[in-house]
Symmetry: C2
Subunit: 286 residues, 2 copies
């Protein structure tokens, strides 16, 4: 496995977490990711893959340690891929100054503004380079059965990448997703920095805008906690996404408000089983 370095291999729930690093030609530097391989899979019986995109400030370690998605994925023989949240190897001016812009805050788009356009190409990285690498190196995974999920900024990533690529992912789910970034402070800051001031460009990367053009059923499960301070501060705006979906006459969206839950991994882990089962159903495991 020439192009991937294995930093750790950890047994858990019968399978293994592999903590890995590779040199990305898309982001121009080393990228960490975690792969969970359940027991009992093989090249002749390959597992489908769920890509999970983390939120602001996270590395792949947070969900690996606190998400407990693998507890539910393991018995279903569903593999999990936890990418990083941004390129890491550069030092653009201001890159590491804010927790909601630059490092660990890529928003999973391909930046068009300098200096970010040089390497903040996370949309290409997540949709092409990383899965191609993983499927080429791990033949026990099935490139034909892939779904996508995420949390907060990663929920935005999951929704937009799903909507931009019909058929690429069998299903989508999100915890506390940033659902209408053009209309919230986090998204305005990120899109201005990465994409520039033209708000027409922003629409191409906003789930609430993208969903208006969706054709067919929407295999989407969203959970939002009612005690989530970012929800209360109108950073998430799932109601805008739901309204746009409804106005477009699109069926299938499950948006659930969970009473008393916050924005944390305690929320993710609580409803992780539902999300894993949602994807498992669409990936042919249930």
């Amino acid at each position: 496995m020439a192009s991937i370095t294995t930093n750790a291999s950890i047994a858990s729930f019968g399978g293994r977490f592999l903590k890995l690093t590779h040199q990305s030609s898309v982001t121009g530097g080393p990228m960490n990711f975690t792969l969970f391989l359940p027991a009992g899979i093989s090249e002749s019986e390959p597992a489908p893959l769920l890509i999970y995109l983390s939120g602001l400030t996270c590395t792949p370690d947070n969900v690996t340690e606190k998400g407990f998605l693998h507890a539910h994925a393991a018995p279903l023989k569903l593999a999990l891929l936890y990418p990083d949240t941004s390129p890491r190897g550069t030092n653009h001016p201001g890159e590491h100054d804010s927790w909601d812009f630059g490092s660990a805050a890529s928003f999973y788009i391909d930046a068009t503004q300098e200096p970010w356009a040089q390497n903040y190409k996370m949309e290409t990285y997540i949709t092409k380079e990383l899965p191609e690498l993983v499927f080429s190196q791990f033949k026990q995974l099935d490139p034909q059965r892939v779904s996508i999920a995420g949390h907060s900024m990663g929920g935005h990533g999951a929704l937009t990448l799903f909507l931009k690529n019909p058929g690429k992912y069998k299903s989508v789910s999100a915890f506390s997703p940033v659902s209408n970034p053009s209309a919230c402070p986090w998204g305005e800051k990120a899109f201005t920095g990465y994409l520039g001031a033209d708000k027409e460009e922003w629409k191409k990367h906003d789930a609430t805008e993208l969903v208006k053009h969706w054709k067919g059923y929407l295999n989407a499960l969203l959970d939002v906690g009612t005690a989530d301070n970012f929800y209360k501060q109108r950073q998430l705006l799932p109601e805008n996404f739901a309204e746009a979906t409804k106005a477009a006459g699109i069926e299938g969206l499950q948006l659930r408000y969970q009473d008393g839950y916050d924005h944390s991994y305690f929320f993710i882990s609580t409803f992780g089983e539902d999300h894993i089962k949602h994807h498992a159903k669409h990936l042919g495991l249930l």
Copy 2:
């Protein structure tokens, strides 16, 4: 609740984690602990309590975030108490210099050597002060049904406090326990520092010595990973505990070696369901 400060209340798995602080008269300073209260318990239908003792370097936050025990305790209506691993408010010479002695390394004994004897009274704290406080303030918990568990140094704590106090705890379990501290480097360092050089004194706090005097069935479940470096380095010595138990003709011990598992929370969370069910059975929940 005059004597307890609530730092956080977090919804998870239908119940709540309370992150709490109180002033301990036993340890002479502020002590943090976490309490998990499952949904559906009340003063008229109180929940039994599992006390879980963490290992070296930990605070109550580690198991709260990474242990995943509450996922299994919640549906059974079993409450969880996560104490801290040492007093925190003092600055004895050398107290914070080692990761295996002093702060976060109390070994859950009452020290007899100065300066530790002043406040390193974790045995009294765990067996008396903390549960008395918790049961006085949380009437939805049942002081008649308590069990104890732990990890590594906390596994030593769980085993020894169980064996020293017949009938106080309904069952005991441990992940990767320090099982014969008189015969391992961690234990030798801690016991010398806290108890002095007299090895006869050490026997009063060593599970492998204490179990020789146990009367009756031993409601004990122990799990040890075969890829655990501390096991390989002979810090844990569960085989000595098992041998002493067998030599004494004591029945009931379940000691399991888990192939390929390490010393981490990935190991704890994998087998947490078994441990929760072990205690639930002895606490009348299953």
